[in-house]
């Protein structure tokens, strides 16, 4: 039980650091920290395979992409490298605080007056995994059986994303009149 609170504390502290730190590279590193702590949360929920995937795909691949782009842009202070957090409050800030308060209120109502089964301990999924013979095997059987069509659709989505990323990264792509660079081809 204490390990959940420790991990939850780490997750919330890391998330706050992502939002509050002015330098984007610090935010990216704190986001890696938060995702690692979330993998620990998955472990306490008995989702070992997802925890490993979280570390490899999220904290590994996706965050490396973030850090790589931050390095590629080589931001200086004037162009978004450092950002002052002390600005006057606008409509977005008021909306944000209202949204967070509404979310907290709903969660409080759920915990206080919701279904009592939510406050009981978590259902042991051990028998479900025991009959399937291992966690990753159970997930694989479900992924390639019941969820085969969504799986294939996800692969098509990833293909479209790859093509889109390549097409957007081409330098000679002219979108609008906001273009102020030369439009020469890049080999």
């Amino acid at each position: 039980m204490w390990i959940f609170f420790l991990l939850a504390l780490l997750v919330v502290a890391g998330a706050l650091a992502v939002v509050l730190l002015p330098n984007p590279i610090h935010s990216a590193l704190m986001l890696v920290f938060t995702l690692m702590a979330t993998a620990g949360i998955f472990l306490t929920l008995g989702a070992q395979f997802l925890a490993v995937i979280q570390v490899i795909v999220y904290a590994g691949a996706i965050m490396v992409l973030f850090v790589f782009v931050i390095m590629l842009l080589n931001l200086r202070a004037g162009e978004g490298g450092e950002e002052s957090l002390h600005r006057k409050t606008g409509l977005g800030q008021i909306l944000g605080i209202g949204l967070a308060a509404l979310l907290m209120l709903q969660i409080g109502l759920l915990v206080l007056t919701g279904k009592p089964s939510l406050l009981k301990s978590i259902h042991p999924a051990a028998e479900l995994e025991a009959q399937a013979g291992g966690h990753s095997q159970a997930i694989g059987l479900l992924l390639y059986g019941k969820y085969l069509l969504p799986f294939e659709v996800a692969s098509v989505l990833l293909l479209v994303a790859i093509i889109g990323a390549v097409a957007l990264s081409r330098r000679h792509l002219v979108i609008g009149p906001g273009r102020d660079e030369s439009t020469e081809e890049v080999p």
Partner: protein, 108 residues
């Protein structure tokens, strides 16, 4: 299973509270920050919060379907990040900044 190592004494509602707090922090980040890269990271935080909620409910219901959904969330997040970062690089090339106020080409 690791029931003997980690006794499951935490109610699922507390996991939902953690997910809600994380989602709220991410939403605040999206609304407060001006740097597009950091806003993108806050979107990842929000996706992460939904992942925690999905896995907690999957555990609560004794089913693995929630964990499968998390796989698809991961795939969509990867696609979103690759396209989004390409767009950010393009905006930086055109505007020389990643401040959100500079991305106003579509403003009528």
């Amino acid at each position: 299973m690791n029931e003997s190592v980690l006794p499951m004494l935490v109610p699922v509602a507390w996991y939902q509270v953690l997910a809600a707090v994380l989602f709220a922090i991410g939403a605040m980040g999206v609304l407060f920050r001006r740097n597009i890269l950091v806003i993108f990271m806050c979107v990842e935080l929000m996706l992460n919060a939904t992942n925690i909620a999905f896995v907690a409910f999957a555990r609560h219901l004794g089913s693995l379907d929630g964990q499968i959904i998390v796989f698809f969330v991961l795939a969509v997040a990867a696609a979103e990040v690759s396209v989004g970062l390409a767009i950010i690089i393009d905006v930086f090339r055109k505007r020389g900044t990643v401040d959100l106020a500079a991305a106003n080409i579509l403003k009528g």
